[in-house]
Amino acid sequence: MEADYAALKKGGFMRQVQKNRFSLRLKVVGGNLTAEQIETVARVSRAFGKGYVHLTSRQGVEIPFIRLEDVNAVQEALRAGGVDTGVCGPRVRTVTACQGASVCPSGCIETSELAAEISARYYGRTLPHKFKFGVTGCQNNCLKAEENDVGVKGAYIVRWCKEDCSLCGVCLKACREGALSAADGEIVIDTARCNNCGRCVKSCPTDAWRGESAYLLSFGGMFGNKIARGRSVLPAFRDKDTLFRVTDAALNFFDAHANDGERFRVAVERGGWDSFEHAVQEAYNGKA
């Protein structure tokens, strides 16, 4: 049997050091697996692997030591138990996420649904090189948004309501950016310093701070052979349609301007941040 390694790799089978053994990458979205999926994975790893899994650095799960002749049987067993195989190679990879506002008290946005939506829209899409999305719920950045090609970070756009404020002083200290001060019975915000972390909202005992969930995007992060931090080119914005217009534009830019085998960051730098920012800005303004 002649193995089609490219097809296997595309289907998530990663060639091992050991001949004809593969570490099978599974599809995980936003770092969540159901109990049923975990049971399926456990069964498959016992039956076809060595009874263990490897957790990757990006919330992925791999079942090592799958034999070439078992590839089809493994795929079937997984599918029947509600588990999809992953992808590798030059395409959109696992969409990672922290638990976000549905679970974490610090969260400014819901992350699991959003990761699922991003994954449904882009997962496995072929591009000039691998492409990673990560979603983190707030400025604490547990999911490390800026190491992804596109990072999504939850934020609050905040507003102070005088009538509800007891001038207790808590928010002045809760804000780590030094954006807040008190003067003449008012709390004054220096918007140039505000990073939309939402700590004022979360700490205010009278809910005098109102926070609207928003997205902060970063572009061009990578954390492998070369390391670069994703850059922010847009202000925090509220709506999900805009988010997807912008991410569509970013991926299309990558597709149109990159040489084969070139990471997103490298393509943007070669083409110039100006032209990339222009493309993103047009999408942001609703023109794409």
């Binding site: 007891s166 001038l167 207790c168 002083g169 200290k173 809760a174 005992p205």
Partner: protein, 85 residues
């Protein structure tokens, strides 16, 4: 901002300036547990990480924060009214 002295009477004080996270919050919680619902605790804490985070943790426990005052000596006092279970 000192009129709180007339607004409520303080049932207990706790000084957590000698504690570090997460013991700051543990000590605050323990001090609140000693009190009756409606009592006010004066909680003295250090500037920096404690004053950035302890008020919020106390709020998330469901207690009523009344005021945070700057003692002008690198410490702050948080006045908290205990709420019932």
């Amino acid at each position: 901002m000192e009129k709180h002295k007339a607004e409520f009477s303080i049932a207990a004080t706790e000084d957590i300036t000698d504690a570090v996270c997460p013991l700051t919050f543990v000590r605050a919680k323990a001090a609140l547990e000693e009190l009756e619902a409606g009592d006010v605790l004066a909680l003295r804490m250090n500037d920096g990480e404690p004053v950035q985070n302890v008020p919020r943790s106390v709020k998330e426990e469901g207690h009523k924060i009344l005021k945070l005052t700057d003692n002008a000596d690198g410490t702050y006092t948080l006045f908290v009214r205990k709420t019932g279970e």
